[in-house]
Symmetry: C2
Subunit: 419 residues, 2 copies
C-alpha cells in the first residue's frame, strides 16, 4: 500500500470510528434564537448549500418570505421581498449554524428546534421541530394564515410542553430508538412511524409528571399521537451531531454532509473541511399524492434531510423498509439489492443497527467518495417531492449526482496527492 493509500485508510477508519462512537442524546427544545449559534432576530435559515436569492427555487423563496411574515418582520409579501432584496434579512444555511432543516429547511428566530448533544464529543446540533403532516406547511415553502397560526401554536404551546417532557426524562437516547425502529420497518427518513411511536411511549410517563398545564398537555398529546414523521427531525439533529466530530480529519475521503436546495446538490468531505462540492440537483422519482400532480409540477431534489443517508440511514437501508418501495413500484429484492450495493461504497458497518432483512447484519456507514466514483454506485436518498412553487405533492427517491463526488475527489487529489 502506498503512503497515501495508508494515510487515507487510517483517516477513514478514524472518521468512521468517530461516527460510530457518537452518543446522540436529545436534551432540549428551544426557540432557535436561544440556542442556534449565530442566530439573529432577522435571520432565516434554509437547506444547504448556500444559494443567492435570485437563483433559489420556489419552495425556498416562498418559505423565506413566509418566515419573514411569521416573525412579524414584514406585514406583506411585497414588503418581505423588499427587505430580503435590500439585505435587511440575513439569509444563511442551516448547516452553517450546526443545524439541519427538513424540506426547504426554513428556520427563523422564534421557531422551536430540537437540541441533540453528542455526549461523546460534547457538541450540539439542531433541527426544526416536526411542523405537521399537512401537505401545505412552511417546510415545503407554503405559508398562509393557517400555517402561521399553527407555527405560533407549535412555538408557544407545543414546544414548551415537549421541552418539559424531555427535561423530565433527563434526555432521550436517540440511538436506542433508531436501533429498535430499523427492526420495525423504519429506514428513518421517509418512514419514522416506529421511531415516533416508540418515542411517544417512552415520553408519556415523563410528560404526565412534567407539571405542564392540562389544556396544553392535551393539545400536545393529540398532535404527537398523529405525527408519524415526528421523529425524523430528531434523527436529523442526531445525525448532524454525530457527523460533526467526524469532520476535518486530514486524508479522510468520507462524506460528512449531503444536502440540496432544489437547485444545487452539495456534499462535504471530512478531509476537505466545510467546502461544498456541488452539482445540479436531480429529479425525484416517485408517487404523486393526487392524480392531477405530476413531474411537471415538481421542484428538484431539496432538503437537509439526507443527513440521514449521510449517517447510513434512509435510502442506504431500504432493505429494512420495503414499504418505502411502494413509492417507486419497487420490490423487496430491489430494497435488499440497494442496501447490499451500498456496502460497496461505504467504509464500514454499524453493528449497533441490525437489519432483520439482512439476517441482522449491520448498516453500511461512511460513504467514501473514491468508491462512489470508482463503482458509479450513487447513494439513494429517500425523500418527499415538493411542488416547484410550494407544498408537498409526493414521495419517492433520488440519486446523489456523481459530479459532486468527482469534484470532491479532484479537490482531494489536488490537496493531498500532489503535496
Amino acid at each position: 500500500m502506498s503512503d497515501l493509500k495508508a494515510s487515507i485508510a487510517a483517516a477513514n477508519q478514524e472518521t468512521v470510528d468517530r461516527i460510530l462512537a457518537g452518543q446522540p442524546v436529545w436534551v432540549d427544545v428551544r426557540p432557535a434564537i436561544e440556542v442556534v449559534p449565530g442566530m439573529t432576530r432577522n435571520m432565516v435559515l434554509h437547506s444547504s448549500p448556500r444559494i443567492e436569492w435570485g437563483r433559489m427555487c420556489g419552495p425556498h423563496r416562498n418559505g423565506i418570505i413566509g418566515a419573514v411574515l411569521f416573525e412579524g418582520l414584514a406585514q406583506t409579501r411585497d414588503e418581505a421581498i423588499h427587505l430580503i432584496e435590500n439585505g435587511d434579512i440575513l439569509i444563511d444555511t442551516c448547516h452553517n449554524h450546526d443545524s439541519v432543516g427538513a424540506g426547504a429547511g426554513i428556520t427563523s428566530a422564534s421557531m422551536p428546534v430540537v437540541v441533540v448533544e453528542n455526549k461523546t464529543y460534547g457538541n450540539r446540533a439542531y433541527c426544526d421541530v416536526f411542523e405537521s403532516g399537512a401537505l401545505q406547511s412552511l417546510k415545503w415553502g407554503w405559508y398562509d394564515e393557517k400555517v402561521g397560526a399553527h407555527l405560533h401554536w407549535l412555538a408557544e404551546v407545543f414546544a414548551p410542553v415537549l421541552r418539559a417532557g424531555i427535561e423530565c426524562m433527563g434526555g432521550l437516547d436517540v440511538k436506542s430508538i433508531v436501533a429498535k425502529a430499523v427492526q420495525m420497518g423504519d429506514e428513518c427518513h421517509n418512514r419514522s412511524i416506529a421511531a415516533s411511536s416508540l418515542f411517544f411511549k417512552d415520553l408519556m410517563p415523563y410528560l404526565l409528571r412534567s407539571q405542564v398545564k392540562e389544556a396544553d398537555l392535551l393539545q400536545a398529546v393529540d398532535f404527537l399521537a398523529k405525527a408519524d414523521h415526528f421523529f425524523l427531525h430528531v434523527t436529523m439533529a442526531a445525525a448532524k451531531a454525530v457527523l460533526e466530530p467526524a469532520k476535518d480529519i486530514p486524508y479522510s475521503t468520507v462524506v460528512t454532509a449531503m444536502a440540496r436546495n432544489g437547485v444545487d446538490f452539495g456534499i462535504q468531505v471530512s478531509g476537505l473541511g466545510n467546502e461544498w462540492f456541488t452539482a445540479p440537483a436531480g429529479k425525484v422519482d416517485g408517487l404523486y399524492f393526487r392524480s392531477e400532480w405530476g413531474p411537471g409540477d415538481a421542484a428538484l431534489d431539496l432538503g437537509d434531510s439526507c443527513i440521514t443517508e449521510t449517517v447510513g440511514l434512509g435510502g442506504l437501508i431500504q432493505a429494512t423498509a420495503p414499504t418505502v418501495q411502494q413509492y417507486v413500484q419497487g420490490t423487496l429484492a430491489d430494497a435488499i439489492r440497494n442496501t447490499v450495493e451500498f456496502r460497496e461504497i461505504c467504509v464500514s458497518t454499524n453493528r449497533e443497527l441490525q437489519l432483520p432483512n439482512l439476517d441482522f447484519e449491520g448498516t453500511p456507514v461512511g460513504i467514501d467518495i473514491r468508491k462512489v466514483v470508482q463503482t458509479g454506485i450513487l447513494p439513494i436518498l429517500d425523500t418527499g417531492i415538493t411542488s416547484k412553487e410550494a407544498g408537498l405533492i409526493g414521495a419517492g427517491q433520488a440519486r446523489a449526482p456523481k459530479e459532486c463526488f468527482e469534484k470532491a475527489l479532484r479537490a482531494f487529489v489536488a490537496r493531498y496527492a500532489q503535496a
Copy 2:
C-alpha cells in the same frame, strides 16, 4: 368436480368469507365474572383442550392452584389442592366460555378480561388482560405473593383505567392496528411491539380525557409504556371473535381453533363443530433465556395463543417478522419460505393484511385439514417456552402435530363422505 368436492369448496369459501368479514372491535375490559359466559366464583379456566387434573402439566396445575389462592378460595396450596381434588373448584377451558388465555390460560372470576365484539356478527370473545412481561407470572403457572399483589393491582387499578380509556375511545378497531403492525415487523404472536405501541398512541388522547384518578393513570401509563406484548391479548380475543362465526358450517374442512394444554394439542374444524381432535403436544424449539435452562426444563407446547395462527397470523406470517427467526437461528429466507409454504395449506388470502416482505401480497388464511394431510406441511406456531413446573424460560416455535389433522379428516370422511 364431485358433489362432495363442490360442497367442500363452497363451504370452505363461506368459512373464509366469514373470517374475512369479521370486524373485531375492542369494546370493554371487565372482571371475568361480569362478562364471561358461564363464569362462576369458584371456576378456573385454562388453555384448551379439556384435561383431567391428574394428567395436567406443571404450569396448568400450579396456575390453577395460584388462581384459587388469588381468589381467596383457599389459604394454602394444600387447601387449594384439596378443594380441586374434591370437585369444589370448577375447572374448565377458556374456549368453552368464548374465551382464550395466554400460556396456561389461567382465568378466574375477578381477573380482568379484554372484551372484543365482532361487529359483523354481534358475537363477543374474551381474553385475559396482559399480565406482565415477568418470567414469573400466573400465565406461566407461577404464583407467589408478588404475583398475587400484581394481579390485584391489575384487577383493581389498571383494568378500570384501561376500561375508562376504551370507553372514552368508543372502542378500538383491532384490524386496523394489526394491519399496520404486520407492516412493522409484528407477526402478532411472539412479537407485538408495533401493535402495542400503535395502540398506546391511539389510546392516550382518550385516556387523558377519561376522568380517572391521576395516581391510577400514572401507574397504568407506566405499565403500558413498557408492555411490549400487551396487544397480543387483544389480538387473541379478536381472533377468537372472528373465528367463532366461521364454526359449524357443514362440509367445511377449515380449522377454526388450535390450542394446547402442555399435554394434548387439539384442533377444531368448522364442519365438525366443537369436537377437539387431539394428539400429544409437541416440543418447542427455541432459545432459552438463561444459560442454565435447556430442553430438559421445558414443558411441552401450551396455550390458546395459537388462535393467532388459526386466524392467519403468528407463525403463518413469519415472513413479516424475521426478528422472530432469532429464536431458532433462522434467516429471512426461512421466514419467507415458511409463509409461502403456508399458502399451500390455506384456502385463501387476506388482502387486508399486506406483507411488505412478500411485495405486499396478503396473508394466508383458512387452514384446510385436507391440504395439511396431503402436503404434510404442518402449521408453525410461534410461542414461548414454559418451564415444566412454572415460569417462562424461553421462546421459539413448534409445529402442530399431523395426527390432529389426520384424526379430524377421518372424522370428516365418516360424517360427510359416507353419508
